[in-house]
Structures are given as structure tokens and as C-alpha cells.
Subunit: 161 residues, 2 copies
DNA sequence: TATTGTTATACTCTATAACTATA
DNA sequence: TATAGTTATAGAGTATAACAATA
């Protein structure tokens, strides 16, 4: 038999006798949980531009790398190379990227942003700043910076290189 | 026309003339990207136990709260209350949680872990430690701690309370 | 009239198998 | 034989609409 609910945390002040235990979870799980939250918010914003987080990631990555090929792009944005095809197709149809055969290895397609792609990115970046402020607004400036640095480093050691 | 690919980053040493620009992205996007990576790894591990990240999250959350109701649980694990039904159903059928009507508000179902649920959690936690070491192994101990603290705080200010 | 939980369903994302063309 | 890209498909995950019981 279950007695009373213990989830009305906001009714208790810090250190009160009945204050519920902190929600404790590992960093890996929290990363997955908060990542889903962040993804949801990005997806909602990007949907207004007719895009998905993968499209955004691809544009952003190409803006950094200038040129790359599909397999590498897929790796960096975190999709299986087989599923990257439709992502790249979509952006190409919209005229935001161009896909040309690599002369040295004709199996490969070199991918790069078009002029229009670069223009679109600027708009998305501005919209993205709003999402980020909303998601991380509860943190101090120092905390946001520290989190950004740590995530950037984690990205390097897990997916990049 | 696209000239050469610029993605063979590992061939260049730091500061070399042709070294590719760092992959720069905002904290919100990185959080979504790395969250998906973490989720994938958790999902793979949990599949061996016939579970999903949501099931894990529900068990972990109940272990912290002891008792709660479905809406609150759904909020904490990040699923729509309507979709939390099948998550709770699954765990109840496995005998890991028990669902009893709240006497004070008979619309509500009080949810709590069973003895067996607590035992299963111990096993999952051990398996989860392996996933976490794998995911965060490239960071130093201090970095892992700092990241964990920041994620925990972000969880508080975004979804909890 | 609002809230808790439920059922049902459509849609998106992700994972995977099988193929073509180049190397 | 291995790799880059493609096509196709099934399953998991997510979002949404409509409803019953209770407040």
C-alpha cells in the first residue's frame, strides 16, 4: 500500500524536514534527457523554417568545414550515412548546398554551401540564439560558458577526430 | 565548382597552415547532438535488459522520489503524459512498480517501486556506469564532475520544479 | 469547467538489409 | 575485397485528437 505522494517539492523550503530527496541521476542519463529537451525546442523553431535539427546540423557543419563528403558529414551530425542521403537531398533541392563528384575519388561527392545556404544560416543562427537563451536562461553567464566549453570538448573526444 | 575536401583533420598538426577550422556550434545544439549520442548508447545497453531509456528514467526517478503520480513522472522523464501510460504499464506488468489509486484524489494513481524494482535498478546502475565511462572517458575526472554538476543544475532550472 | 489517466492513431526518426559504382 | 553513396523498409519514438472518471 502506498501512503502519501511525495512529489510536491515546491511546497517545501530548502532543508525542511519533509523536503524530497534531490533527483539524482548520472551525467550520461542527464545528457540524454536534457539533450532530448533541447532537441525538442530546436525542432519546434526549425519547423517554422521547414527544417529539422539534422538539416541545421548539416548547414552549421558545412559552414565550419567549407567542404566535406557525405560520410564525414553524417558522422559529425550523428546520423547513419544511409540516412544522410535524404538530408543532403533536401538541402540540395532547396539550393542551400551543392553536391559535385570528387575528381580524385569518383565514388565521393564533395558537398559545400551555396551563397544562398550561407544567407539562410545567418537567419537560423539568429533564431537559434533565442532558443538557446530560453533553454539555458536559468544558468548564469559563467555557467553557460563552462557548459559550452565542456560540451565542445566532449564533442571532440567522442565524435570528432 | 568545389576544389578539394577539407575534412582530413587528423592529418594536420595543431596550428598547421591547412588545419581545418574548429567545429563551432552553440551549447544548445551541442547538447541536442551529444544527448542523442548518449541516448543511443544507453538504448543499446538497455535493450539487452529489454528496456528503453524511458523505462530506465522512470525507475531512476521513482528511486529518488519514492512515490509520485503519472503526470509528474511523465514531466520528469520528458514524455507526454499520454505516452507515459505505456511506459508505466510495461513496468507494472514486469512487477517493477506498483500503481494504486490515491485515496485523496481518486483520479490519481500513486506509483512506487516494488522490492523487485529496487533490485533491478541496482543491476541497471552497474551496467549504466559502463556506458557512462565509455561516453565520458575522454574527459578528466574534474571535467566529468563539472559537467555533471552543470547538467544537474540545468535539469533543475528547466524541467524540475 | 479543469484535471488525471486512458485509448487510438498518424507521423517522424532511427536502424538495417540489399544494391550500384567505383576503388 | 572494401568503400561511397543510394534505395527501400520496418520498428521505435513522438505528437495529437477524442474520451471517461473525478475534482
Amino acid at each position: 500500500m502506498i501512503a502519501d505522494m511525495a512529489d510536491e517539492g515546491d511546497k517545501f523550503v530548502e532543508g525542511a524536514p519533509d523536503s524530497p530527496p534531490e533527483l539524482r541521476a548520472g551525467a550520461g542519463y542527464l545528457l540524454a534527457r536534457l539533450g532530448a529537451e533541447s532537441r525538442r525546442r530546436w525542432a519546434r523553431m526549425l519547423a517554422e523554417h521547414g527544417m529539422t535539427p539534422h538539416h541545421y546540423g548539416a548547414l552549421m557543419t558545412l559552414d565550419n568545414l567549407k567542404v566535406t563528403h557525405q560520410q564525414r558529414l553524417a558522422e559529425l551530425i550523428g546520423v547513419d550515412p544511409r540516412n544522410a542521403v535524404s538530408v543532403v537531398d533536401f538541402l540540395e533541392r532547396r539550393g542551400l548546398i551543392e553536391r559535385t563528384r570528387d575528381r580524385a575519388d569518383r565514388r565521393r561527392h564533395a558537398i559545400a554551401l551555396t551563397e544562398e545556404g550561407r544567407a539562410v544560416i545567418d537567419g537560423l543562427r539568429r533564431a537559434g540564439d533565442g532558443v538557446e537563451r530560453d533553454m539555458l536562461g536559468g544558468l548564469t553567464g559563467d555557467e553557460r560558458t563552462a557548459l559550452h566549453d565542456l560540451l565542445h570538448r566532449l564533442f571532440e573526444v567522442t565524435v570528432d577526430r
